[in-house]
């Protein structure tokens, strides 16, 4: 039993001033405050993007234009919806999880570069503002993909503003990713080799490598686009020697890896939640860790499958092959997760429900992904609602389900309070059913002949679209339940204690919320982050409970009290 080791030091740290809302509105270099800043900011943009999504679905209730006045307005709404959900919701939300959790999971006091960390966050509000302002000065109407010449000739000046916003967000991502890589490389505690890291940290490693390598290409593409629009260059204008495919190649060289930038952290969340809430070691740790790296690597070679109807036909084949290959590491993950819950003792917490929901939905997105990699079938469904269905299964059924799961799982750590499980279950079932209703019919609409990004459509698609619109209302309502639950639990949630899920990773081996600089003394990690079901693990977890105390029902008037780190 010698290997049992619990973070040393006093449990009753000296009382520090309680954090107020205003502490979160200020510059702070505490990674926990920054993590929460990322999360709350991205939740705000999630609501904005959600309102835009519901506008789209309301418009599509009928085949004609009726809610919006013109097709251009519709295109603006869908462009903003895409830009906001990708650049201001999923990506920064994942960065929020990373910021809050990576130092804690490594037993570190903070990120490697705290000031840089704060700077990366504070780029987001002005970037978001630029994106929102673009609406008012000749809005972008070329989709989030901004294909020229539609974006260069027809979109208003707002296109430039949106591109500048995306630029800033790219810088923010790159700075954040460098910070993660340095932190993970240098700040692991004694006794934690790469293969003893929590899988969420592995996922953030793969994600950060992707961000550092891919995002500069987005910056390059956006710069050329802005120059074409404001400086009269002709990078994308064939009449003057440019090429429209140049944009598509550079853009997708970033934007396909961006899909993995959005999904890999979610997969990391899943690996934590599934193991902890089914009380069983993760099945095939190394394969899950390495498949993240494999997905990251192969992810750089598949970009032109987004161009199967535009790329020169003779160049298309290699991208079909690489896109097929990437299904293999993705399959490894799905089967490993199934192996993890198999024979476990599954607790149906809200966090677990959303992770199981991810598994169930993401596999559909994976299957349609392989279908789309097949060039001949892709020729039929490219740029149709089939593709819309596919990427929402990946990004909503995948990333967003993982975010929901992560919020329920780590909210107790962040706030010291438990979320309401009854509302959580309601939210899960409404989201699950609403999601299927919204996005499953889109497969059929696409196959039957409905292109994407259309404000008007043939009357025969109205039934399918009405189903989708009905589902989206349910989804929207469920999202509000989450916000309500998070808000209300802050005041009336029961006290979480240090380790409400009895988890082995280090973020749980300190008080909830953790004190300034996270740990009292240097924590020593348990040798196996997923060693559930062993006597050693049970003894370790009991000792944590003893040292930091267990949770208890809510006591009125004692609001959550995270503590700040010094600037």
């Amino acid at each position: 039993m010698a290997s049992i080791s619990v973070p040393a030091g006093e449990t009753s740290a000296p009382q520090q001033p309680r954090l107020r809302v205003s502490d979160y509105l200020r510059w702070s270099v505490d990674h926990k405050i920054i993590g929460v800043q990322y999360m709350v900011t991205s939740l705000f943009f999630f609501l904005v993007g959600g309102v835009l999504a519901l506008t789209i679905r309301t418009e599509l209730l009928t085949p004609q234009l009726d809610v919006l006045q013109t097709g251009q307005q519709y295109n603006t709404v869908l462009s903003m919806h895409g830009l906001i959900m990708i650049f201001l919701w999923i990506i920064p939300m994942m960065a929020g999880f990373g910021n809050y959790l990576v130092p804690l999971m490594l037993g570190a006091k903070d990120m490697a570069f705290p000031w840089l960390n704060a700077f990366a966050f504070w780029l987001i509000p002005p970037a978001g503002l630029l994106m929102l302002l673009s609406w008012f000065i000749g809005p972008p109407e070329a989709g989030w993909t901004m294909y020229p010449p539609l974006s260069t000739i027809f979109s208003g000046d707002g296109q430039v503003l949106a591109a500048l916003g995306a630029h800033l967000l790219g810088i923010s991502s790159i700075l954040g990713a460098i910070n993660f890589l340095v932190t993970i490389r240098n700040m692991r505690p004694k006794g934690m080799g790469y293969f003893q890291m929590p899988l969420f940290v592995w996922a953030m490693t793969a994600t950060s490598i992707l961000v550092v390598m891919a995002t500069p290409f987005l910056a390059g593409a956006l710069t050329l686009l802005i120059l074409d629009k404001v400086a009269g260059t002709a990078f994308f204008d064939p009449a003057n020697g440019g090429d429209v495919l140049l944009w598509q190649n550079i853009f997708w060289f970033y934007s396909h890896p961006a899909v993995y930038i959005m999904v890999l952290p979610g997969m990391g969340i899943l690996s934590e939640v599934l193991s902890i809430h089914s009380r069983k070691p993760i099945f095939g740790y190394k394969m899950i860790a390495l498949s993240s790296m494999a997905i990251g690597g192969i992810g750089f070679t598949v970009w032109a499958h987004h161009m199967f109807t535009s790329l020169q036909p003779e160049y298309r084949l290699p991208f079909m092959i690489t896109s097929m290959i990437i299904a293999v590491p993705t399959g490894i993950k799905i089967f490993s997760w199934l192996g993890t819950i198999w024979m476990g003792k599954i607790r149906f917490t809200s966090a677990m429900l959303f992770s199981l929901g991810f598994l169930s939905m993401f596999v559909i997105g994976g299957i349609t992904g392989v279908m789309l990699a097949v060039i001949p079938f892709n020729l039929h469904v490219h740029d149709t609602y089939f593709v819309v269905a596919h990427f929402h299964f990946v990004l909503f059924g995948g990333s967003v389900f993982a975010i929901y799961s992560g919020l329920y799982h780590w909210y107790p750590k962040i706030t010291g309070r438990m979320m309401d499980e009854r509302i959580g279950r309601w939210q899960f079932w409404l989201t699950y059913i609403g999601f299927l209703l919204t996005f499953f019919p889109m497969h059929f609409a696409g196959i039957l002949g409905m292109p994407r990004r259309v404000a008007v459509y043939a009357p025969e698609f109205q039934t399918l679209n009405s189903l989708s619109s009905a589902g989206s209302a349910v989804l929207g309502f469920a999202a509000l339940l989450l916000i309500w639950n998070m808000y209300k639990s802050l005041y009336v949630g029961s006290i979480a204690g240090a380790n409400p899920w009895r988890a082995l990773t280090l973020e749980w081996a300190t008080t909830s919320p953790p004190p300034a600089h996270n740990f009292v003394g240097d924590p020593v990690p348990f040798h196996d982050p997923y060693g559930y079901g062993s006597e050693e693990a049970t003894a370790y977890l009991d000792e944590i409970d003893q040292r930091y105390g267990k949770g208890s029902p809510a006591q009125p008037g004692s609001a959550a009290a995270p503590q700040p780190a010094g600037d």
Binding site: Q72, F154, D237, P281, M320, K345, T368, V370, L379, L448
Partner: protein, 388 residues
């Protein structure tokens, strides 16, 4: 997996395998119910390939969802059970199996897809080439009819001189329409260009799609086939633009008209169109009017012309354009009304009507057609007489 695997376990695995594969095959059977008609040779090959994808995808779907459903039912923790599950970290054999099987599946799928991909692009003997032009938000198709394929009753020496000259020079005349006419069994090769932004040519019933890219000519090959049970010719299938091209993207729709056979194609479509080309109206105003009304050029998408019911508001209205050209524009540009209108067609951005942006593309309208259009536009005056 395990030497002590019981008979019951083996039975369960076999049963699950049968359910999975049988279920996959069943899902595959549902396919035609959510597909458009299979109206081209290419669509038959693509659909057979998709059926394989659907069977395999269906089986994997059932496998994963089945395991998931079984797990959440069988491995649910009892309310008072606070113990952990078994301390198992993995199983190398199993991990190799679930890496290898998907690898084999995607390899097979890649090979099958490659074969179809090669086959649907194959050059066919005696292809008919049709030129396609996409412009916001309009499709235009141009057929080249060589002299020896003109209607049998054509007497070249009796045709108008301009047509005779053209036949002597090019050996062919062009027929332009807004719908793509073809017939069962015709091997079509479309050569496609765009006047402005990227469009994408898609016929769902043919399962084929290709983008139209500025600065390039792109190609797509189609061979319409007979759809079993269909006796009602000509059959019309929608053409839809699949690449976002602006506000009216969703309305950029046209039709493929498939005639029963070559004879029907000629009698129902080509010969009538050819004879109209061979015998144009004498009056240039009338020719210009026909040209605009045919919507061969996408003028209607951006301009108002009440007579034809055009409501586009991107460019200046054409109602009364002759008077404005003769007065205000002549004053501003120093050109005569007719010269100004011609310039606006060929070089639309040289003079911009105040309040409008440089959005009109050069449509490459041939000189003779442009002259006819100008002649017609000159009559769009208050008096109804030519203002030029």
């Amino acid at each position: 997996m395990n030497a002590s695997m019981s008979t019951r376990t083996i039975f369960m695995i076999v049963a699950a395998g049968i359910v999975m594969i049988g279920g996959g095959l069943l899902i595959g059977q549902t396919m035609p119910s959510f597909f458009p008609p299979e109206a081209s040779a290419q669509s038959q090959q693509i659909d057979s390939l998709f059926k394989i994808l659907l069977v395999i995808g269906g089986a994997i779907f059932l496998l994963v969802q089945g395991l998931l459903l079984y797990s959440v039912i069988a491995f649910r923790a009892k309310p008072d059970d606070t113990t952990d599950g078994p301390h198992i970290h993995g199983n190398t054999t199993l991990e190799i199996v679930w890496t290898a099987i998907p690898a084999v599946i995607v390899t097979v799928l890649t090979i099958l897809s490659y074969n179809v991909w090669v086959s649907i692009r194959e050059e066919q003997p005696a292809e008919a080439v049709v030129n396609v032009v996409g412009a916001r938000f309009n499709w235009a198709f141009t057929y080249t009819v060589p002299t020896d394929e003109l209607p049998a009753d054509t007497v070249v020496s009796e045709l108008p001189q301009t047509i005779q000259d053209k036949l002597n020079q090019d050996g062919a005349v062009q027929v332009a329409t807004n719908e793509l006419h073809t017939y069962v069994g015709q091997s079509l090769k479309l050569e496609m260009e765009t006047r402005d932004v990227i469009h994408s040519f898609w016929v769902p019933a043919f399962r084929m799609k290709q983008d139209l890219l500025p600065g390039r000519v792109t190609e797509i090959r189609l061979t319409p086939v007979e759809v079993p049970g269909n006796t009602d010719y000509p059959v019309r299938y929608p053409i839809r633009c699949a690449e976002l091209c602006g506000g009216n993207h969703g309305a950029m729709v046209s039709w493929v008209v498939v005639h029963k056979d070559e004879a029907a194609y000629k009698s129902e479509f080509l010969n009538t169109e050819v004879s109209q080309v061979l015998h144009p109206p004498e009056d240039p105003v009338l020719r210009g009017r026909q040209l605009l009304e045919s919507q061969q050029y996408p003028c209607f998408t951006c301009h108002v012309l009440s007579e034809f019911g055009w409501v586009g508001d991107v460019g200046p209205s054409l109602d009364g354009v002759a008077d404005r050209a003769a007065a205000a524009r002549a004053q501003a540009t120093g050109l005569s009304a007719a010269e100004y209108l011609l310039q606006s067609i060929h070089e639309p951005n040289v003079f911009l009507v105040p309040g409008y942006g440089p959005l009109m593309p050069n449509l490459n309208i041939p000189d003779d057609q442009a002259a006819d259009i100008v002649a017609f536009l000159c009559t769009l005056s208050v008096s109804g007489e030519s203002a030029c």
